[in-house]
Subunit: 511 residues, 2 copies
């Protein structure tokens, strides 16, 4: 237990006039001071901790925050910036500390200091990239950022793209583009809707594709039943010949293939579908290919891992989450299109108050026509700052380091008598199980040992369902290694903690 006492502590005295505007000269000076103070409170708040999470149950935390804010967080009267510093300290005391090497659960990296610092530019100026005159420099930077990433993906000069609020939003927009392209063969779905769609829409993805694909189908009115899951091979990759067979069975009189979605970096395994083969099948059947590289995109920056993405340039659209394997604070997702004109039917839009034709002709154009958002934060600034500071080589080296750590974990798990390796490493994840003495208790023991580590704040490992010994879904554990500062001894310690917690659960001892 590392929480200081029973309450979230309150620090320091107010610093600034809380009504100052960030971009005013006085506001900028005070913002610099306040961030400095916030960083100090964060350091103080983290200092007393013993692990990546506070040693608190959810109920405990709720009680502490209730005590911190007895009148809620939307009071009538303000308390000045002292309240902000108290919030910062409490956040540091009770957040998940992704910089702790024992945090290895989600595709949520510790952010780079340079990115978090540069992100303040978005907040200070509040530029919006929808129109030129709401953020001209940010518009220019986003255009160059997208162009640079298009080049890395192997896209040509007709390509384009846009930043979105996350991988789910990127996948949604990609499938929207695909839906409207497919439906254009039939009728004008944009104006008339899907009510008369007639044919049954189909979206093909592997059984390990992210759930946002099915959810996007539901949002877009295609229905989750539109999803056809293609089997995977022993390395958790879509089987192209199975995809081919499924596409051959499509009845063109009653069914309409909307898209094939390949995954470059599955959430659980990091496995990458065989892109050249999948692309060839999609092309042969005349179906659009979207590649969800939300996780795998980091391989674009690594000489060692780049071959995993061979063929990605054949995709019609690509999702890349730079808030995963480029160590950005969220959100920093990018949706690329091999042909930027693909965006026009779905998001191309002229609005009298934002981008009228005559302004566009005079060069005053923003990025409204590429996005489903209107006001849109200048997320490109932090990303560009990061690449300018570290280069793609710097980011690639971070992914290589995580890949090395995952390989180490893979070997350690395989060698450990109480751990069973489920899947080896492609990017930076390892799936495994604690081997329960009573195999029928495996689900309970694995689920409970993870919560036991959570409650103690000692370690944060991931979990998921994977086929168990009988082929049915069973609770598995997962390490997602995204902290390049982690050492191999840290990984060893994390695995030891898992085994100790598993034993404790089996022995029925109190948490």
């Amino acid at each position: 237990m590392t929480m200081p006492g029973s309450a979230l502590s309150a620090p320091a005295s107010p610093l600034l006039d809380p009504g100052l505007l960030a971009a005013a000269p006085t506001g900028l000076a005070e913002l610099g001071r306040l961030v400095h103070e916030i960083a100090r409170e964060c350091a103080d708040g983290l200092r007393g901790r013993g692990g990546p999470l506070p040693a608190l149950s959810p109920e405990d935390l709720t009680g502490l925050v209730d005590a911190q804010f007895p009148d809620g967080v939307v009071p009538r009267n303000g308390a000045g910036t002292g309240a902000v510093l108290a919030l910062a300290r409490a956040c540091a005391q009770t957040t998940v500390d992704l910089a702790d090497p024992r945090a290895a659960a989600h595709l949520q990296p510790p952010s780079l200091a340079v990115a978090a610092a540069a992100d303040v530019l978005a907040g200070i100026f509040n530029a919006s990239v929808d129109t030129w005159d709401s953020g001209p420099y940010a518009v220019e930077i986003e255009r160059r950022l997208v162009k640079g990433i298009c080049g890395l993906a192997g896209y040509g000069p007709e390509s384009g793209g846009v930043l979105t609020s996350g991988g789910s939003a990127s996948n949604l927009q990609a499938l929207l583009v695909a839906r409207d392209a497919a439906a254009a063969k039939l009728r004008d779905v944009r104006s008339g809707g899907l009510a008369g769609f007639g044919q049954e829409p189909l979206v093909f993805c592997s059984e390990l594709a992210h759930f946002s694909v099915a959810r996007a189908c539901a949002v877009l009115g295609l229905g989750e039943d539109a999803v056809r899951t293609v089997p995977v091979d022993g390395r958790h990759r879509m089987r192209p010949e199975a995809l081919d067979a499924m596409l051959r069975r499509v009845d063109p009189d009653t069914q309409l293939p909307v898209a094939v979605v390949a995954t470059a970096g599955t959430t659980d395994y990091g496995s990458v579908d065989p892109l050249p083969e999948v692309a060839a099948v999609a092309r042969e059947h005349g179906v659009r290919l979207h590649v969800d590289a939300a996780y795998g995109c980091g391989a674009l920056f690594s000489d060692r891992l780049r071959p995993l993405l061979d063929g990605i340039g054949e995709a019609d659209t690509i999702t890349l989450d730079l808030h995963k394997t480029a160590w950005q604070p969220a959100a920093a997702s990018v949706l690329l299109a091999r042909d930027a004109a693909d965006f026009a039917p779905t998001t191309g839009l002229r609005v009298a108050y934002l981008n009228p034709d005559d302004d566009g002709e005079a060069g005053y154009d923003g990025l409204l026509g590429l996005s489903l958002q209107t006001t849109r934060r200048a997320d490109a600034l932090k990303v560009a700052a990061t690449f300018l500071a570290l280069g793609t080589d710097g980011i690639g080296a971070m992914l290589d380091a995580c890949h090395d750590l995952a390989r180490h974990a893979e070997r350690a798990i395989a060698a450990h008598p109480r751990l069973a390796l489920t899947a080896g490493v492609t990017l930076s994840t390892v799936v495994f199980r604690y081997v329960a003495g009573d195999p029928s208790a495996s689900d309970h023991v694995n689920g409970e040992l993870r919560r036991r580590l959570l409650r103690a704040g000692a370690a944060l490992v991931g979990r998921t369902d994977a086929p168990g010994d009988d082929g049915r879904p069973a609770v598995h554990l997962k390490l997602t290694l995204l902290n390049p500062q982690t050492r191999t001894t840290d990984v060893d310690g994390l695995l030891d903690a898992v085994v100790r917690a598993g034993r404790a659960v089996e022995e029925g001892s109190a948490a």
Copy 2:
């Protein structure tokens, strides 16, 4: 022309190891230092400016940024944090300076220093509110923030809500909820899609509703043709009796009303539809009511303006953009539902790797089930910090100040022989025209005078289409006053600049 020389200037020396993680002790210290340096570069960059925009054409700016980054912004080799400071300085030199009182175009406020500073917490810890163990404190804060705003809106204990990436996203999700609620009467649209929807879906909103309503209909597969625009009265507010008549004409055998969307703060006029009357009509016809209060939500915090929102608690869902009238940096949109259970059919979701049932039963639940996003930034932290520092009274006073400025502008325009007032003030906008000597040249003169001010960097006013003398759409100008530090003499100066630019266009002099 206020740009220093012909190039974007490069400052200072590198500060930090660009690979530091933000939440590590060394990272926190260096982040504090780097933000301080960034703020200084911003102040330096702003100092030489003579107006809210750089005195640059779009082509000029493109050329400057090309010169700044001859190798693009995604280089193979990093240049350290010096590059970040250069980016910051160039951004300050060429961004739109919303703190300049002559920036009065968009619903894009100058952000509060306290909000921009507190936002660094989201970047440092990179918490994600989708699951408890990816950001427990942020989850607690978002819950309290939503609860507090629900209370201000008059919602009861069953209410709930979620932060989204913007007003367009909030409106999209509100209409998704409405679509699936309406379709549930017919069949399970979530799984089966809209292909067999059968009936023609209808969404009713005023002709001044935001374009995101029609776009959401297109995205959701309802089609833009689903939108039925209800006429407005002389004060730009939906006519409830017209809505009632339109709903009476619905053919229940072939048509399905999905939602009524009322606007509380139209983009152009700030006008607020008569919420109690619209709610009564919607209720009588059994149709869901969504209120788009993206702009008008600020009135919740103002004793003076709160009566505009009377009746808002009768809405089924409400969009509130705190990145508009709560002076937050984007994004800080909130979607509220009077009954939180409404979210369940559309976004309620359990995923083995994120929120399995047994974790949920143990209290380890995040906000995944409320959102269309998966990874989601802890935007609630900056918002809560702002309310804690200023209180709702502090924010309300800012809106009151902007309302006063708009009233002043309204009077000044009405009194000016070369300006014609189109619409008076409800919140903080004024729509007007420069009176061209040749009325047939009015569109050209008004459009061009605005660009002339843009090119000179001297002032940033908004524009939109509104009915002209002949009732057809004509180019109008708009002041959106969201800077509470602006003085009435600044407003007078802005209107003088408009008139001078109009005369110059008419006289055909060079920009």
